[in-house]
Symmetry: C2
Subunit: 144 residues, 2 copies
């Protein structure tokens, strides 16, 4: 639990970088054996690429770092519940565990069935939910 909060704080740090750049503030890190092997924050505006989500960037970096295809022994920490695209990518990566902060009641993967995840992927939601959600709320309020 303490470790989960520690790594979620690292994901939050990524999310704040996104916010500072005017991007939707979502951040992610991938952890293997207590070490961060991939980081990412949303960059859809800067890259003008609607698929440049925090998770996609972090997964690709982690896969590269592992020198291999699968992330079976890794955990993804992400500030907001992943969308179906990212959940699908996480399924293909066979990631061992997903920890997210705030739920996404509009496009979160858990709204879809059958499950979009790999059957062996464990999920924990709600870790540091409040700061994760607050970043999003502040961003969208400022946009109005």
């Amino acid at each position: 639990m303490e470790q989960d909060e520690r790594f979620m704080n690292e994901a939050l740090r990524e999310a704040r970088e996104a916010a500072d750049a005017g991007e939707i503030p979502i951040g992610a890190v991938v952890v293997w054996k207590g070490r961060i092997i991939g980081r990412g924050h949303n960059q859809t505006e800067r890259l003008r690429d609607t698929t440049a989500h925090a998770e996609m960037i972090a997964i690709t970096a982690a896969t590269e770092a592992m020198g291999g295809k699968y992330l079976t022994d890794c955990t993804l920490y992400v500030t907001v519940e992943p969308c179906p695209m990212c959940a699908g990518a996480l399924a293909w990566s066979q990631i061992g565990r997903i920890v997210y902060g705030a739920p996404d009641q509009r496009r979160g993967f858990s709204l879809f069935s059958p499950s979009l995840l790999h059957p062996r992927t464990a999920v924990t939601g709600g870790v540091l939910m409040e700061p994760c959600a607050a970043l999003m709320l502040d961003f969208f309020r400022a946009k109005r």
Copy 2:
């Protein structure tokens, strides 16, 4: 219809390139105003990246070519029904239309609900289904 077959043949050409490289033989092209602006074939083995699907590569190339974020006036042709990850990416791209060849009865996006696609995306399945499916069958038979 004739135009659909013409562009599906281009997607099949991409799929054959994947097969020749020992990759799962799926190919895709993105078309805008009768012109191909993005192509891709599955490269998960070569790139050692489980997200390097034909559609992801073609969408990123097309988005780049459009110099913008959305593919509203574009059609994606792909030899096999997209998976949830690719359907999610197509949703974010707001693509106008998806044309696929063979259905994927295990991981095809149409198996999931609510719909993984953007509400304004039109879908046509079964275009040149037989050659699209035959490529996949040949590949998996040869693997045994």
